[in-house]
Each structure stands twice: as C-alpha cells, then as structure tokens.
C-alpha cells in the first residue's frame, strides 16, 4: 500500500520521477507551442495559396469569360489548379461561376455541367456559395469542419464583374504535417523523458547513496557502534556527514563517560550496600559477641546464659532478616497465580491491627472487581511495605488511604498518608538501599519494594510534601483482566 503513497517512495524513485516529469512537461509545452505556431503558419500559407490560385485563375479567365469561351476557361482552371495544386497543396475542387451563379467551368465537369446553376448540398455549402457570389475582392473562406480553405476571387473584365473563381484547397496535408510534427515532439519528449530519468537516477544515486550511508551509520550508532562515514565533496550532504561524524564522536565520548559513571555508581552502590550490610550486621554481631564473651568470662554464673540467650537470638534474627531482605528476589516464588480482590483485602486486616490505637483512620477503597494473574506474595509484600511505611510516617495519627483499580492491563494502587512527608532532597534517595530517615529501620524497605515491583514489570512513583504527607502510585501489569472470572 505504501507504493500508492508518493510521499512514502524512496528518494531514488522520487528524484528521477520528478526530473522526468519536469523534462517531459517542458518538452511538451515547448513542443505544443512549436507545433501550434507551425500549424498557424502553415494554415496562413495555405490560405495565401488558395487566394493566389483564385486570383491567378480570375486574371486569366476574364477575357475568355467575356467571350463565353467555356473551353478556355476550363483549360485555365485545370491548368492553374494542376500546376498550383502540385506538391504540398491538394486541390479539392475549383470552379468559375458567372455572375448569376451558373457554372462557367468546374474541375468536376461531369457532376457540374457548364451553363447550369451550381447545385449545392447542405447549409454550409449554400453559405459558402452566397459568400463567394457576394465577394467583391479576393478573400479566403474556411469550411465549418476545417477540411478545406477556399480562395475566392471575383473576375473583372474591362472593369465589369463577370463572375467569381472558387479554389478549394484541402487541409489534409496541414493536418498530416501537424500530426507528424506532433509525433516528432512526442518522440522527443519520450527521448528526453528517458534521458531525464537516467539523469534523475544518476542524481538521486549521487544524493541518496551518501544519505543512505548516513542513515546506516545512524542506525549503527543507535545500536552503540560508531563508524565514521566518509562523503566526498563539499556540498550540504558532505557537511552533514562531517557534522554526523562530529556528533557520533561526541556521542561515543558521552557513552564512554556514561559507562564509566555507571560503573563507578555501581561500585559506589555496591560499596554502600556492603557498608550498610556490614554496619547493620555488625551491630547485632557486636551485641551477640559481647553476650557470648560475658557468658564465657563468667562460667560461674550459669544464669547469665538464660539472661543473654534472648538478646543473642534477637540479634541473630535481625541478621537473618537483613539477609532475607537482601535475597528478596530469590526468596519469593516466581509463579503467578490467580488473585482476586481478596488478595488485597487480606492486607487490610494486617494493617488494621497495625494501626489500632495509633489514631490513624484507614480509608480502604478496593475497586478491583475481577481476578487477575499476578505474583501474589510479591504484590502483597510490596503493598504491605508501603502501608506500613505510611503508618509509620504518621506517629501522631492521621488518615491512611488505600485505593486499587484495574486500568486496562494494569493494576493501579495508590497509598496516601497525611504524615510527615519526605524532604525534597531525600526524595531522590528513598529507594536506595540502607537509606532511612527513621531510626531503627533497616533502610531496605522501599528498596525492596521497588525491586519487587520491578521484578513484576511494574513501577512506583512518589509525590510528597513535607508536613502534609506522601502519595505512592503503584502500577503492575496483570493478565486476565476482564469482566467476570479469568478464563485461563
């Protein structure tokens, strides 16, 4: 279908077509002009011939007509039209009529007897006859169909009007000449069209090939390969090539910088994680080691074991929790399952218990109305993390609002609190590991939440205003969205 849309054609087609059309157009216009002018001139020459022949006959036939010498008049008519009608000029007919319109001589004597009025058939012939008989000076008439021109010359003998000469010349030669000229012009236009196409193809190849090389180089650049293009000459396309090369070099430099930057950022993040892990693990470890050291130093006080075991266990649990958090992706199953509105409603009970007695009111709005295919544990943990976060952001109470809905293939959720909010400079870091603005937190909650959502192909956005609260928008792509139970 694209073939039908000229705008979609390749330049290598468009350019030759345009050049070709322009060349043909110019050739056709000039040719038509030449042919037209030629035709007008030929027609004028034909008219002149007709008039001259008629005048010639009139001059020669005057005396014989005066003497009623029909034979001489006929011989003059025949001779003049034979001689004058040779070559380019074709005499259709010719005649000499006397003043009353009777035939004095006619080139077709058998059909037009001398001494009898000329018999005419049809209106146009009658009109021509009337015009001829009314002529007082040589003139040229044309028939309605353009088949002939008629030269008319009145015959005067001794100053007396004795009759009229009519010489009819065919326009066939004219038409043929015009047609031949038109054919020549047509052939010329076709030849020029071929030539124009060749030139157009040559031009377009010259213009399109470097463009295509540029396009290929750009495509390569898009895939990360930078190959400089070489375009000869100093025209715009060559300049474009140079610009492209400069740009590609800059892009390559930038990419290298970005790679290095990403590398260093990765190292920094790894360092931060390692430092965080070390720090978080170190605190309980130090406590545990301290407890164990005390127990070991005081074997005489067996009650110390009973006293220190709980903190040791607590410390180990904490370490395990950190490790488990770090391994969140390995921990959760990848299998997705069918999950209805109740998946989210289960969380409601947990959070109700959490906020009980804290002065937090819960506004739960679950509009999910159909089962969807989703990784249930990950979704639940991500949402629960955020709900808990929100509750913790409101130590003095407030309102926690949860809403969920299906939007096309997306499960959208919104968790809004009226808590302390997040400082603007912190917003960029809240999803970093071990970043926490709250005492006692591991700083892994939001990081884990983001990783959970990412692992499901989803995402998270946050808006926050310090002192007023925060809103977390979650979206997770789901399958089986529809009205009624999923059919999978």
């Amino acid at each position: 279908m694209t073939m039908l849309r000229p705008s979609a054609w390749s330049l290598s087609i468009k350019l030759p077509v345009i050049v070709c059309l322009v060349v043909v157009g110019v050739a056709a216009v000039i040719g038509a002009g030449v042919v037209g002018k030629d035709r007008i001139e030929l027609r004028e020459a034909l008219s002149d011939n007709a008039r001259l022949l008629a005048r010639w006959v009139a001059a020669s036939a005057a005396e014989p007509m005066l003497r009623d010498d029909s034979w001489s008049v006929y011989r003059i008519l025949r001779q003049v039209t034979f001689e004058g009608g040779s070559g380019e000029t074709e005499v259709v007919t010719a005649m000499v009529l006397d003043r009353e319109g009777k035939v004095s001589a006619h080139l077709q004597p058998g059909e037009n007897p001398i001494g009898l009025p000329l018999v005419v058939h049809g209106d146009s012939e009658a009109k021509l006859l009337a015009a001829a008989l009314g002529a007082h000076a040589p003139m040229v008439l044309e028939d309605e169909d353009g088949k002939f021109v008629e030269g008319i010359a009145p015959v005067f003998a001794g100053g007396k009007y004795v009759g009229v000469v009519r010489v009819r010349l065919s326009t066939r030669q004219l038409t043929e000449t015009t047609r031949e000229a038109a054919l020549v012009v047509l052939a010329l236009a076709l030849g020029l069209a071929v030539l124009g196409s060749l030139i157009g193809i040559r031009l377009s190849l010259g213009a399109v090939r470097p463009l295509r090389r540029l396009a290929d180089a750009m495509a390569l650049l898009g895939r990360g390969n930078h190959a400089p293009v070489t375009i000869k000459g100093g025209d715009e396309i060559a300049q474009l090539g140079e610009s492209f090369n400069r740009m590609a070099a800059e892009v390559a430099g930038k990419q290298r910088l970005e790679r290095e930057l990403a590398q260093s950022e990765k190292s920094a993040a790894l360092g931060r994680i390692a430092a965080g892990v070390a720090h978080e693990v170190n605190n309980p470890l130090a406590g545990i080691l301290n407890c164990l050291s005390t127990i070991k130093d005081h074997p005489e006080q067996p009650d110390l074991v009973a006293r220190y075991l709980p903190p040791i266990e607590k410390g180990l649990h904490r370490i395990r929790a950190i490790v488990q958090d770090l391994l969140v992706e390995q921990r959760a199953e990848h299998a997705s399952e069918l999950c209805g509105p109740e998946c989210l409603d289960e969380l409601r009970d947990l959070i109700v218990a959490e906020v009980h007695g804290t002065g937090i009111t819960l506004d739960w709005d679950n509009r999910v109305d159909a089962p969807v295919q989703v990784n249930r544990p990950r979704l639940q943990q991500a949402v629960l993390n955020l709900l808990k976060n929100a509750a913790q952001a409101m130590p003095d109470g407030g309102r926690l609002k949860f809403s969920a809905s299906l939007d096309g293939g997306l499960l959208r959720m919104e968790i809004e609190d009226t808590g302390i909010g997040i400082a603007e400079e912190d917003l960029r870091h809240i999803f970093d590991p071990f970043f926490s603005s709250r005492k006692g937190g591991t700083g892994l909650g939001l990081w884990i939440t983001l990783r959970l959502l990412n692992s499901m192909g989803g995402g998270i956005e946050v808006r926050s205003e310090p002192g007023k609260g925060s809103v977390f928008h979650l979206h997770v792509p789901v399958e089986g969205e529809g009205h009624g139970p999923a059919q999978q």
């Binding site: 011939n49 001259l52 022949l53 010639w56 005396e63 014989p64 009623d68 010498d69 029909s70 034979w71 001489s72 006929y74 011989r75 025949r78 001779q79 003049v80 034979f82 001689e83 004058g84 009608g85 040779s86 070559g87 380019e88 000029t89 001589a105 004597p109 058998g110 007897p113 001398i114 001494g115 009898l116």
Partner: protein, 311 residues
Amino acid sequence: MPYLSRRGSVRLPAMQMFKGSWPASWSTARGWFGGVVLLVLALSMPLPAQAAEGPVRIALTAAAVRDELPFYDRWAAYLGRKLGRPVEFVQRRSYRDIIEMLRTGELDFSWVCSYSFVQALDAGLVDLVATPIFRGKPLYQSYIIVPRDSPTTDLMQLEGKSFAYTDPDSNTGYIVPRAMLRDGGRNPERFFRTVFFTWDHGQAIEAVADKVADGAAVDSYVWEYLAAQRPRLAERTRIIQRSEEFSFPPMVARRGVDPDLRKRFSDAILSMAADAEGRRLLGEMMLDGFVALPASSYDKVRALPTALPLR
C-alpha cells in the same frame, strides 16, 4: 494586354512550361505569359518582309494533329531539302486566320479543312495541291462522340446539353453536325444548352473525355490518330454516329505563289511515299500518301452548307 489567343497561339505543351512547386510556378506563369508575348512578336516580325528568299511558309490547321512539334520540324527539314529552301510550319488558332494570311500573302501553302478550302477556292485565293490518303482512301468523315459512360446513342438525344464545336469553318467539327441536326428537323442554333469552340479536334475530344461537353463532332482522322497514339484520351470517348464521307482536308497553294515553287512543292508532297524518309514521316501521321484530285472532288463539301440556315 493583347488578345493573345486570337492573335495566334503556338500550341506549346503548357505542362512542360510549368514545373516546380506552386510559388515558383506563379512567377513562371508570368514568365509564361511573357514568353508567349515574345514568341508572338518573334513570329510576327518576318511577316511583312515577304522576301523571295525567305523560308517557305506552310500553315497547319485543325485538320492536322498540331501538337507534335518535333515531327513538324523533321517534316519541314525533309521538305526543305526537296525544295532547296528552308521550310517553316506556321500555326494559327482558326481557319479564318489562315485564310486571311493566304489573302495577304503571308503564307505560301496550307493544310486546310475541306470546307475552308472550298471557301478559299471560291474566293480565288488558293489552288488544290494534294489530298492525303488515309487508310487507303482520300476520304474522312465526322464522328459524333460522347463520354464513354454516357447513355447517349444519337445526336438527337443531346438536346439541352453542352456541345463542343471545333471551328466555325470546320466541315466535320461544325458544318456536318449542324447539317445532321437540320436534317433531323432541329434548329442547330437552339438545340444545345451551351456550345463552345475548341479550335482543335484533339481538344474537342478532350472536352468530351473530361465531360466538359456532353458531346462533340470531330474529324475522324484526328480521332483515329489519337485513338492509336494516345489511347488513354480517346478511349474515354465513344463514337455514337459517323457521318457520310467527304474528301480529306487538302494541302493547298496560295494562288499567287511562284509556279516553280508550287511545282516543286507539289512534287515533294506527292512523292513522299516514294522514299524511305517520306514513308516514315507519312507513317508517323498515319497517312498512306498524298494524291492529286480534281477540285470537283470537294463539291459535296460545298453543297452542304448552302442548305444550312447558317448563323
């Protein structure tokens, strides 16, 4: 502009003079007219001279086929050798021109129509020299001809039609058809719608062939000659009637011509069949020879028009 045709027409084949494309022929046409004027002047200049040692002048009339100019040059050369003097053939449009020239002494001999001959004889202008023998007989007749595809079968059916006469002094081309009409109880003056003179039997045939004329009366010798030499012209016509036979148009001498010259001329003409060149010339004219006849042989021609209500 002088009236060229009346003054004299040397019948040059016009077509040879018109060659080339149209604009050229226009200028040629002026040249043509000029050329004719010059020719006429050239021909008229020696006329008043009438010197004894000038060429012997013989006139050709419509009785002969006159447009074979090279032939007449050769015949003139032949006769010139026999006479010991240059011979020149002269052409004029009509018989009357010739008779007038015989009267003024501008001519020595002439080949005239039988009717012109009896007129000139009776006027004391000429003497009979010799009569051609055509197909074994010194006789000819008038052919009434019509276009080949014409349904006409009889002269009487041409009433109200156009008709071509040759010359008002022509026996076969004028007197005979009018006599036939008269004998058929018609008035020749009003019988045809239109008539015209062609001043030449050959052109009368042409007029019928081209259907300019619905009919014509022509010299049987000229028609037969053209039928043999230019069949494409004669075959476009058809003979519907043949008149009775008359003595063939004769060669005559002006009465005042030098008797010695007249004798030599007579001998030369009558003996043509005796030598090879003479026979070849006769053959080209489709004649068998010349014979001396008494003038009374033409009485029948003389008898015809006296009974006609002529003009």
